[in-house]
Subunit: 367 residues, 2 copies
């Protein structure tokens, strides 16, 4: 009976209560309920900005299910007594995901009746299309308070920011862009015409490294920036060094069928030597024991190398020459935030082939 | 009798005393003495890192001159009782500039006798050459604790960091580099082979924006970075936008004698429209009332436009099209830190002409 397309997510700030309601002849089905805090956006409060980590939630599912399941309306309470206090001193919220169900499901949308009380914040789980918006398409309306990422599914730069959002567990919605024929409204967001772009409460941020720094600045949880100024400077220098690799990478990719393909591929290897040296000095990740901002900014281009290796029979990162970098890529692919954003080698191959054909398929793999 | 080439600068941390000495038959001449703090490097102390501004000094010249002038040796004391306390709660230092003088000055160097006490830090005012170091030249030895800037006198990117150093009143020495024939040891400092590069206590920082951020991070005085995260993000986006201008700028400069010079110059105007719009919205400076980090990063290329206007009869920034940007450049040239780093239009013209001739004169204007 469950259908996530029609689920709604409700946030109720600590200390408040409200009625959760479905229309007549519909009944509530609680999918999940948690009490605590996993981000700093919703239910803002002084106590939130004094903390840096928001990982503390209790499940409140049983309690809320008991109160609501099968009913047309039920009272939600958001307080420490009901669900215990997972993070004393920090202002919390109740997060409820639920559906309104009809017996025959012939018309599930008609069943929704969002008539919540005064203190409720709505974060509807809208079913947005993954398909790329193209020139001439209508602008997808913004939702108050909802962070939006303008992205392109296979873009390595957008992936940098998708990893950051996943790592920080920041709720957001995605609007994918056809970068060959851009929607007119997209160029109003970013005159440079590139993804990623973040939009939130009238604020626009673009350029992947700037987006990630901005997210780090406004969402303190799960920080990935080194605190030492010299380490920060060195990481930025390594990122600058990495841009030599990305230049060589795209040049080689374009010349794979040409006569000088081998020398172009050699240039990619050479550009990677400083990165191989650095990861050798630093440990499992560029951040040492844990992935840092630099790991997130570097990773996406390297994800694509396996596809180039198998699909185009060109090895941009030979194991014998760059063993540590290869090991780092495998290690990165076990990091939860990275796993959430990955595409498999075959999808990258198919995408690059469509790009090479002059008709890039931005919706590759979608139904 | 004064000759600044032979002056020495001495730093004596608060609470210490030492003898200032010249050799036999030489006598001390105090040039200047201050008590307080104008930077965060020397005499490090816990109290220093809690403060953000270091502009407080008293003149201690009269007091120190009375104690030392004409003597072969004198006792220096660094304490609040003697010079009053210009910044209570902050650890201070006495900064003395003096010469050792002989009656006939036939051999002034023989007169120096640096035999200072245990608690003194030496910051010798070495006479370094302004001339560019070239391939094959010997590495100029580092001085313990002294910050060094690898620069090129006319390089706009190095000027970004020179302005920052001047604004923050950070003591440093300059090593200019011949960028056509680079000294071998320079590529060990920065494998990208570009200026500016900072070197301090074995730490190397390159790329102008990274250098300036690093200086801001480690020297809290005279901060120029916006505190609001979104403002910081917007400034970085504007800097990114400015890179469209610098690309158009160099392209136009190279094509000034070609047939399509006019369209290249038009492209420069077009690239400047977003910058004109932004300064119009922000006020006197990109930082509003006061110059900010962004002003310092943007300014150097615009300084050169007057030279291009008069020396090459090409107007990259026409007054009628970009009035606010023109006014901003004039305003920037009244900022003390900018004035310290400027070259006049004719020097820029001469430098560009030498560059265009294929034999760049890095020592233009020097004796």
């Amino acid at each position: 009976m469950f259908n996530l397309n029609f689920a709604d997510e409700y946030i109720l700030c600590e200390g408040n209560s409200t009625n959760l309601e479905c229309c007549l002849e519909c009944s509530i089905q609680i999918l999940e309920a948690t009490y605590g805090r996993t981000n700093s956006i919703v239910c803002p409060h002084d106590t939130v900005f004094n903390s840096t980590e928001y990982n503390y939630t209790n499940s409140a599912s049983t309690n809320v299910s008991n109160a609501c399941d099968g009913k047309q309306s039920c009272l939600l309470n958001s307080n420490n007594d009901l669900y215990d206090d997972p993070s004393p001193g920090v202002f919390k919220y109740l997060n409820v995901t639920y559906e309104c169900l009809q017996a025959d499901l012939r018309n599930p949308t008609a069943c929704k009746c969002v008539g919540a009380g005064t203190y409720i914040s709505t974060v509807p789980r809208r079913k947005m299309t993954e398909k790329a918006y193209i020139k001439g398409s209508a602008f997808p309306p913004l939702v108050d308070g909802k962070l939006r990422l303008y992205s392109m599914r296979l873009c390595p730069y957008a992936q940098r920011t998708r990893i950051m959002l996943a790592h920080k567990k920041i709720p957001y919605e995605t609007v994918n862009i056809n970068l060959t024929e851009k929607p007119e409204w997209f160029l109003e967001k970013n005159p440079l015409g590139m993804v990623p772009v973040l939009e939130h409460d009238g604020k626009i941020v673009y350029e992947s490294a700037i987006c990630n720094e901005y997210l780090e600045d406004i969402h303190k949880q799960n920080s990935v920036t080194p605190t030492d100024p010299y380490r920060r400077a060195r990481d930025k220098m390594l990122l600058e060094m990495n841009s030599k690799f990305t230049t060589a990478y795209y040049k080689a990719l374009q010349g794979l069928k040409g006569e000088d393909a081998n020398s172009l591929i050699e240039a990619v290897h050479a550009s990677l030597v400083p990165l191989e040296k650095a990861i050798g000095e630093r440990g499992n990740f560029y951040g040492g024991d844990k992935p840092s901002m630099l790991d997130f900014l570097l990773y996406p281009h390297y994800e694509r190398i396996e596809g180039i290796r198998t699909g185009f029979h060109a090895d941009f990162m030979p194991m014998d020459k760059l063993p540590k970098l290869n090991a780092w890529v495998s290690r990165m692919q076990t990091v939860p935030a990275v796993k959430e954003t990955m595409f498999d080698a075959q999808t990258h191959i198919d995408f690059y082939k469509s790009y090479g054909s002059g008709k890039t398929d931005y919706d590759i793999g979608l139904q």
